[in-house]
């Protein structure tokens, strides 16, 4: 089998544009690998082979005609099940929408990737309606971590993370409301971006909690992330290489629930940089939790009134509870948010990038999906986002980067920046990659691990 699809997105695009390989050949290798290895991951919900072949052939036709098909020429990718794909129902991971009318057009993010030459191969599993950090889905199954099939991949964009971590494709789109890209990126050892709130197009993306919803990519390198970011923004790629970034690390509650490797890396990276304690981080996370519950519950209220029993029971009960929250409480949370953002923004005036853990631990086991928080065992589904949700509350961009620790289960850090300063996050991430702090490690037993996996 040709393994072009296991290379980085930028490598594939360079080779396709240089006529070293055709987009169709890259795609056929990808499809064959998915056929051979994807099933145990429970990550792919729909293979779009016919559409993908059409897109790949269109890329090759443009090259044959002497045109440039774009910076992602021939790059296979997948999307979380909440992006509109023309001609398909957008299920958002739920049986409730399995028979919905087909989307009339692609989501804007998908359209931008297509215009850049990327090839859409599959739709991918998620927590129902994106309400969870685990990708435990009653209808479509629990997505498994390529680094250990007995463990969760994280969520809610777990399918997107799993296919990239397994080497089935170099790029996937997810969405991040409270950590749904950063959490699975940390648990599967990938780069995952939560952009500045609303910086990437949300048209054609099934919503969850509009105060926090964002599109976010998963990649295996910083170079790929910066390229995809530029494509999704519809802007030329900017390669910021500043060496004088002011880096600080977060203390307080962020250090209380973290792995020693994360703390050691944060201390080593920040060096003499400040240790900051963002005030009232627990209050911020709780306010984010309440706004999310209310907005999610309100969004689904009419559908729940008609067909509550068609929902995933655990998601359903969370949504109903959120719909019953008094609006006055949510008004309090929103007022707290406005005040909080102003205070934290002032506090970070002299800092470019802040470091924090992405998850409090490595991937939990599927048979016991709980994690220890403040000395108590808590449900992973609700609490894996303890370090991401408070950052979401600020609306700041946050890039999850994988600590380099081959042979061990993956773990990530967040590089948190100021609104609109994603390129500084990429600049620091490049430095960390070069210095050996971060980088993607293949699953410990190699890419064939998935063939030996357990059943669903």
């Amino acid at each position: 089998m040709t393994l072009w699809h296991r290379r980085s997105a930028c490598d594939i695009a360079r080779a396709v544009r240089a006529r070293e390989v055709t987009a169709r050949a890259v795609l056929e290798g990808c499809l064959a690998d998915i056929e051979a290895r994807a099933a145990p991951l429970v990550a792919v919900t729909q293979l779009l082979a016919e559409r993908a072949r059409g897109e790949a052939d269109a890329v090759d036709a443009r090259i044959a005609a002497g045109e440039d098909p774009g910076p992602l020429a021939g790059v296979p990718y997948g999307v979380k099940d909440l992006f509109d794909v023309a001609g398909l129902p957008t299920t958002a991971g739920s049986r409730v929408y399995a028979d919905a009318p087909p989307a009339p057009r692609d989501a804007k993010a998908v359209a931008r990737l297509k215009a850049a030459g990327a090839v859409l191969v599959a739709t991918l599993n998620m927590d129902e309606f994106a309400y969870g950090f685990a990708t435990i889905n009653a209808a479509y199954g629990t997505t498994r971590n390529p680094h250990d099939l007995a463990r969760l991949a994280g969520g809610s964009s777990g399918g997107s993370a799993a296919v990239v971590a397994a080497g089935l494709m170099p790029l996937a789109l997810g969405s991040d409301t409270n950590g749904s890209v950063r959490v699975p990126a940390s648990l599967t050892g990938l780069y995952g971006l939560k952009p500045t709130h609303t910086a990437l197009p949300l048209d054609g993306v099934f919503p969850f909690a509009e105060s926090f919803d964002d599109v976010g990519p998963f990649t295996t390198s910083v170079e790929d992330m910066a390229c995809v970011w530029a494509v999704l923004r519809g802007e030329p790629m900017v390669s910021e290489t500043r060496a004088d970034l002011r880096v600080a690390r977060l203390g307080g509650r962020f250090r209380m629930n973290a792995d020693p490797d994360q703390l050691a890396a944060m201390d080593a990276i920040a060096g003499e940089g400040a240790s900051l304690e963002i005030p009232e981080i627990g209050r911020a996370r709780s306010a984010a939790f309440l706004i999310t519950a209310y907005e999610g519950g309100t969004l689904h209220r009419a559908a729940l009134a008609k067909q509550a029993l068609d929902y995933d029971p655990q998601v359903r009960d969370r949504l109903i509870a959120g719909a019953l929250l008094p609006e006055a409480i949510v008004d309090e949370a929103r007022a707290f948010r406005t005040d909080y953002i102003a205070r934290v923004t002032a506090m970070l005036a002299d800092t470019d990038v802040v470091l924090a853990p992405a998850t409090p631990c490595t991937a939990p086991r599927i048979e016991d999906p709980r994690i220890e928080i403040d000395g108590e065992m808590r449900p992973a589904r609700a609490d894996l986002g303890i370090h991401t949700q408070a950052i979401t509350f600020l609306g700041f961009p946050s890039l999850a980067v994988p600590l380099k620790r081959p042979g061990a289960l993956p773990l990530g850090l967040q590089l948190i920046g100021k609104p609109g300063e994603e390129n500084r996050l990429f600049a620091l991430a490049r430095q960390l990659e070069m210095r050996g702090f971060t980088g993607v490690s293949a699953p410990a037993h190699g890419a064939e691990t998935c063939e030996e996996g357990t059943t669903q």
Binding site: R283, A287, P313, D317, G322, L324, A333, F336
Partner: protein, 60 residues
């Protein structure tokens, strides 16, 4: 942290009793099937704990 917070201890309450839950559900036109009731109650308890924390009543 000494900065005054816009949250209000003693403000609106999360519905917790059966009567309060039924009233809140009726107010938003959302009947609660029996199969959902215990799960909804557990989630409302969780939301109440987050309201307490947001208001600083848990000591942060």
């Amino acid at each position: 942290m000494t900065t005054p917070s816009p949250t209000r201890p003693g403000g609106a309450a999360v519905p917790r009793s059966r009567a309060a839950i039924d009233a809140a559900a009726a107010a938003v036109g959302l009947p609660i099937p029996q199969a959902c009731r215990s799960g909804v109650e557990a989630n409302l308890e969780l939301l109440e704990s987050h309201v307490r924390r947001m208001r600083g009543e848990d000591g942060e």
